[in-house]
């Protein structure tokens, strides 16, 4: 039930990249979001470290997010990371077990940045980039 509902949501709902308002970031560009999530620069515009958080690998929203962000399917994203993991220079984003956990980490961990369906956004999280369907 839930999965089905999520997938429906995932297809129709806008996704937002959210960060704690205290991070002091107003908005991010698509490239900035890509750099952060795909391990290129893990820094916010203000120089603070950015810690990207992925949804659970099975969560449809994760696939939807990368699809909307870089046009890649999860296998491709996986292959990408497989190459980098080998050298150990960078790592894929931390994987949350659930949406709740993402929100938890966003609230609590400084520099944490994640993505949510737009309707799950709450205070003090703030959307810095939106991916419309």
């Amino acid at each position: 039930m839930l999965t089905l509902a999520s997938s429906v949501i995932a297809n129709e709902t806008s996704l937002v990249v959210a960060i704690h308002v205290s991070a002091g970031v107003e908005t991010l560009t698509r490239d900035q979001v890509i750099n952060i999530f795909l391990g290129r620069f893990r820094q916010l515009p203000n120089g603070h470290l950015a810690i990207p958080i992925d949804q659970d690998s099975d969560h449809p929203i994760r696939a939807e997010f990368y699809r909307r962000l870089v046009g890649k399917n999860p296998a491709e994203i996986h292959a990408y990371w497989a190459r980098l993991i080998f050298s150990g220079k960078t790592t894929p984003p931390r994987e949350a077990e659930s949406e709740e956990q993402i929100i938890q980490w966003l609230m609590t961990e400084p520099g944490a940045i994640g993505y949510l369906p737009a309707d799950r956004l709450r205070e003090p999280l703030k959307a810095v980039f939106t991916l419309d369907p």
């Binding site: 490239d31 890509i34 795909l38 391990g39 290129r40 962000l69 870089v70 046009g71 890649k72 990408y80 190459r83 980098l84 080998f86 050298s87 150990g88 220079k89 960078t90």
Partner: protein, 802 residues
């Protein structure tokens, strides 16, 4: 046989050319191949490297995107596994992620040489294809390529060298077999060939139809031509030798003398005939040179002249030359000289002595009378010309020319024959020669005519004296075969200069006129030339030419004198009489021109004309049914050939005249002339029915016996008898006798010259039936003649007998 040095042989040349050519070709081909291969190898290498880069592109993209130097190094190491890669540099953004270089790479040939420019491949972000995140620089391993190229080149070189060497060998072999050997074979064949014996080359086997075969054929054709040319040449040589022998024989045996002299005039060659003609003794020949001019020429100067002419004109010259002989007459040679170059002259002489003698005698003959040995006419004319020239000078006197001609000499020839006549002429010549000085000229002009020219004798008395002497000398009888013959001579004399205006021929002509005059006067006379004589003759000539014109221009006309029948008192006919209507002199009576016309023969034409007109007139009368006859006079000269009977018949027939109406009047003279032909003419005419009248009866011989012999139709008593019958009893008796005699012979009579009524009465009384004369009418033109007819009864009214 030629010694062939090996380095000039075709084989060697071919091989040399091939080696040089193939070396050049090989190097060129290898160079081109190498260059092409090299660039191809490089291109292929680059393509391979490109492909290599393609395989690592996505990994590179990740490495560069993530700036993962470890991944980049791994990637570079992977690329270096390929031997063609010398070095790999990977950049991400501005920083170098890794730089790897092959360590086992052979050093480049030149260590200084920079590396091959690297293959550069931009690396794009795996997530945004437009975002360049890095660069791979891949340096190709050029040394490797070059190494492989070198080995390839070596291989190709060896291969090419072997190929070319094989080709060269093959070509050399072919040349040897197909060209050199056949040529050698032909050459050997030619050395052993004797074309004149019929030897010919045979083409080497398998070369019958090749160029070699054609060459052999051509050589054989050439050999044929050569053999033919040689044959021809040999025949020509034989022919020439024969000709030379022949010419030599001619030279030796000919009757003509042939010689050659050099520029000094010395004889250098001559034939036996020349020796003989020139009486050269053979003994003198070798001793000393003989000059042509030194031979015994009568006129050496003339010979020298033609020698010079010959050399100067460079053409043939000829001349007759006399050669002196001891104790002999001169010999004449015709010499022809021809320059033969270099001052030499070839000469030909032949003996023309006989020819010369003949020529001389011919010259003499031309002016000499062979019978008497006197000058002939030509000789006389020449001499007269000389005399005229001489006496034409001022202060010279004059000379005279006497022509002597025997009267009736033809009688002598006829009676005694020509040979005896000639004897008399010879005798006469010697008598004449005795009459004159030997400085005077005597000539025989032909037949029995002689001419004597007396120098310095020009007075009439002196000449007459000589002339009489001549006549005297000719008077004594000439003895012919023992019997004496008497001859008379007539002499005609002309004197220069008084009797000649135009030189010698004029003088001779005048002498001839004088002679003719002497003869006319009966002969045995001496007659001096009289200018009046010349004048009369000139007039005669003029009249004759006028007569000719008159015939041409139709100036003659016929007049008609009526003839009346005294019994019936009617007009029966007319005598047609000719008149000349001269454009200046008016009507000329026949007596003024008929004698001349008879002499000159023009009477024939005039007579024919008269016949024609009379016939025309008769035809007209016939058409008008007028029964009259016409009589036409026929001259003695017209019979028999001037008016052939056939012409008469033809004319009458053409005009349709009855023969009985056209009478022909002839004179007694006709009957006298030539009995036979005249009699024939008369009988032919009369047989055809044309009446013949005897005109002027009684004036001539009037022999009544003629009347028996020649049948005539009428007599016309001459007017001289009729005129006086009234006054002269003897005339009257004569006329009466004639009429009576005629009647007894059955011949009609016409009385001419009837002038008055008394005549008519008397004639009637005598029984004369026809009359003609002025009592009736003069001769009338045809128009007046018609008018006359009606007057006859009136005229005759007073003549009836009392």
């Amino acid at each position: 046989m030629h010694k062939l040095s090996w380095h000039r042989s075709i084989l060697f040349r071919t091989a040399s050319v091939l080696v040089v050519l193939f070396l050049f070709l090989g190097v060129f081909a290898l160079t081109v191949t190498f260059k092409l291969n090299q660039s191809r190898a490089e291109e292929e290498s680059i393509a391979r490297l490109d492909q290599l880069l393609d395989t690592v592109e996505s990994t590179a993209s990740v490495a560069c995107f993530a700036k993962d130097d470890v991944l980049a190094t791994e990637l570079a190491n992977g690329l270096l596994k390929n031997a063609e890669v010398l070095a790999v540099d990977i950049f991400a953004g501005g920083e170098k992620l890794t730089a790897r270089r092959r360590t086992d790479a052979p050093l480049p040939m030149t260590s200084d040489a920079p590396d091959e420019p690297p293959l550069i491949r931009d690396v794009f972000s795996p997530f945004s294809p437009n975002l360049r995140v890095g660069q791979i620089r891949l340096t190709p391993n050029r040394a490797l390529i070059e190494q492989s190229m070198r080995s390839e080149l070596r291989l190709a070189t060896i291969q090419t060298a072997i190929e070319l060497a094989l080709v060269a060998l093959a070509v050399v072999a072919v040349v040897l077999l197909q060209v050199v050997r056949p040529i050698k074979q032909i050459s050997d064949g030619l050395h052993g060939m004797d074309a004149t014996r019929g030897d010919r080359l045979t083409a080497p086997s398998h070369h019958k139809s090749s160029e070699i075969g054609f060459l052999v054929e051509d050589v054989n054709l050439l050999a044929d031509d050569l053999v033919r040319a040689l044959d021809k040449e040999r025949n020509l040589r034989i022919q020439r030798e024969m000709d030379e022998r022949r010419y030599h024989a001619i030279f030796q045996n000919v009757e003509t003398g042939i010689f050659i002299i050099d520029r000094e005039g010395v004889l250098i060659s001559w034939n036996p005939a020349f020796e003989r003609l020139m009486q050269l003794s053979i003994a003198t020949q070798p001793e000393q040179p003989i000059a042509l001019l030194d031979l015994d020429w009568k006129e050496p100067i003339a010979l020298a002249e033609i020698l010079l002419n010959c050399l100067n004109s460079a053409s043939s010259v000829s001349r007759d030359l006399a050669h002196q002989r001891a104790n002999e007459d001169d010999i004449w040679f015709s010499m022809v000289l021809t320059p033969i170059g270099n001052g030499s002259i070839q000469g030909v002489i032949h003996d023309i002595t006989e020819h010369k003698q003949a020529e001389e005698s011919a010259k003499r003959l031309a002016v000499t009378d062979p019978l008497t040995g006197l000058a002939n006419r030509i000789g006389l004319e020449r001499r007269l010309a000389d005399l005229v020239e001489h006496y034409g000078q001022p202060h010279a006197f004059g000379f005279s020319l006497i022509l002597v001609d025997f009267d009736d000499f033809t009688r002598i020839n006829d009676s005694y024959g020509l040979a005896l006549g000639d004897d008399i002429l010879k005798e006469a010549a010697s008598r004449l020669s005795a009459c004159i000085k030997n400085t005077d000229l005597i000539a025989r002009l032909g037949a029995d005519q002689f001419a004597i020219a007396l120098s310095n004798i020009y007075s009439g008395l002196d000449i007459e004296c000589v002339a009489k002497r001549i006549q005297q000398r000719l008077q004594p009888p000439f003895f012919v075969t023992g019997s004496p013959v008497l001859l008379h001579a007539s002499l005609g004399i002309a004197i220069y200069p008084q009797d000649s205006n135009e030189g010698a021929s004029d003088l001779l002509h005048h002498a001839e006129l004088a002679l003719a005059h002497a003869k006319d006067k009966g002969g045995n006379l001496i007659q001096f030339f009289d200018p009046l004589l010349a004048l009369a003759i000139e007039e005669r000539r003029h009249l004759e030419s006028e007569l000719r014109r008159a015939i041409r221009e139709h100036e003659f006309v016929l007049y008609y004198q009526p003839i009346v029948d005294l019994v019936e008192d009617t007009l029966v006919g007319a005598e047609a009489l000719i008149r000349w209507r001269h454009p200046e002199r008016g009507l000329v009576p026949p007596d003024d021109f008929i004698p001349l016309a008879e002499e000159s023969g023009l009477i024939g034409e005039i007579g024919l004309w008269a016949l024609e007109v009379a016939s025309e007139q008769l035809a007209k009368w016939r058409a008008q049914a007028i029964q009259l006859y016409l009589s036409v006079n026929v001259s003695a000269r017209q019979i028999p050939d001037g008016l052939p009977p056939e012409t008469l018949f033809e004319t009458a027939r053409r005009h349709g005249c009855a023969p009985q109406s056209l009478a022909l009047e002839i004179t007694e003279g006709v009957l006298l002339s030539d009995f036979g032909s005249t009699a024939q003419w008369l009988s032919k005419i009369r047989e055809q029915g044309f009446p013949v009248y005897l005109d002027d009866f009684g004036t001539g011989y009037s022999s009544l016996s003629y009347l028996k012999r020649f049948a005539v139709d009428r007599l016309k008593i001459d007017k001289s008898f009729v005129r006086d019958i009234a006054t002269n009893a003897s005339d009257r008796a004569l006329v009466e006798a004639i009429i009576a005699m005629a009647k007894s012979l059955g011949i009609e009579v016409v009385a001419e010259g009837v002038e008055d009524a008394e005549h008519v009465r008397l004639l009637r009384g005598m029984g004369c039936r026809y009359a003609q004369g002025y009592f009736f009418s003069r001769p009338l033109p045809i128009d007046a003649f018609y008018a006359f007819r009606d007057r006859i009864p009136l005229l005759l009214r007073n003549t009836e007998e009392h």
